[in-house]
């Protein structure tokens, strides 16, 4: 399988609502894209993405995804996620691809 990396600018996602963003992400994941989001996803979008992904897992081709917000987060201080600058999302199916904070 060929793996592609797509950098998604904030300009691309700015006008998308949460549902549109989830649809965009999952459609890209299904075409073997790793997505790097400028600006990142917020926690509510991450939760919405989980819900949508669970409805679309077909137990054959699409098994979900791997995700990482590399920016260290702090639990103290509400809404600290505004510091997040990017989110990396990859298809789960690439068993040998790992994304990790090191």
């Amino acid at each position: 399988m060929d793996l592609r990396i797509n950098f998604v600018t904030e300009n691309t996602t700015r006008k998308m609502n949460s549902t549109q963003k989830c649809d965009f992400i999952i459609s890209k994941l299904k075409t073997d894209c790793v997505l790097v989001f400028e600006g990142g996803l917020n926690p509510e979008e991450e939760a919405a993405l989980i819900e949508e992904a669970m409805t679309q897992i077909d137990h054959q081709e699409f098994l979900g995804y791997k995700i990482l917000n590399p920016t260290p987060l702090r639990m103290n201080g509400l809404f600290s996620r505004k510091n997040v600058r990017m989110t990396v999302i990859a298809p789960y199916n690439y068993e040998h691809l790992s994304i990790a904070l090191v």
Partner: protein, 204 residues
């Protein structure tokens, strides 16, 4: 008392719904069963298994009463399925399930994850269970905590499996930059501190 605790203390609730949340195999059901047992309920809340996604539906234990010198709290404890971003039926096959049973379990697991996400809106407070014997950088923990914070739901982070030699509750504390409660749901270590924290965030 943390800022979140003080915010919650204003409501002075005596009946509180507490969700137990986290990644698969963090020990959520083991914790729920211990609380159930220590509340005098004879039945375990769920089955504990090394196979991921053993819990695939939310299960509630009502009228679990804990108290201290300031009063009593009537808890509803909700054990939730582990939250994940992927469900791979082949993982179940590695635990000895047939392919057909594995796919069926995977289908149930996807529905369970959705139920766990949707349960976030029904809680007064939450215990986020983190496996202290593994590196705590799983994005799921941040997703759960971020969503609870956005809903202004008080959070208790329990660093579970502290009985294991490889457990590192300090790393959990360092990662989340917050007070955490080291516990072992298996042997009961730290449960009094956990109950104290529940009473604290509930304003007792």
């Amino acid at each position: 008392m943390s800022i979140l605790s003080r915010l919650f203390a204003r409501s002075r609730k005596t009946r509180v719904t507490i969700g137990i949340l986290g990644a698969p195999n963090a020990g959520k059901t083991t914790l729920a069963n211990r609380i159930s047992n220590e509340c005098g309920n004879g039945e375990p809340l769920g089955v504990v298994s090394p196979v991921p996604h053993e819990t695939r539906d939310c299960k509630a234990l009502e009228h679990c009463v804990i108290s201290d010198q300031n009063g009593s709290l009537d808890l509803t404890i909700v054990d939730t399925p582990g939250i994940a971003t992927s469900i791979d039926y082949r993982e179940f096959q590695q635990h000895g399930l047939t392919r057909q049973d594995s796919i069926q379990r995977a289908k149930e697991a996807t529905r369970g994850v959705i139920k766990a996400i949707q349960s976030l809106d029904k809680m007064d407070a939450a215990i986020v269970v983190v496996d202290a014997a593994r590196a705590p950088f799983d994005q799921i923990n941040w997703t759960v905590i971020g969503n609870l914070e956005a809903r202004r739901i008080p959070i208790i982070v329990a660093a579970n499996k502290s009985d294991l030699t490889e457990a590192d509750p300090e790393l959990v504390k360092e990662t989340f930059q917050s007070d955490i409660i080291p516990i072992s749901a298996k042997d009961g270590t730290g449960m009094n501190e956990l109950y104290g924290s529940i009473l604290s965030v509930s304003g007792m």
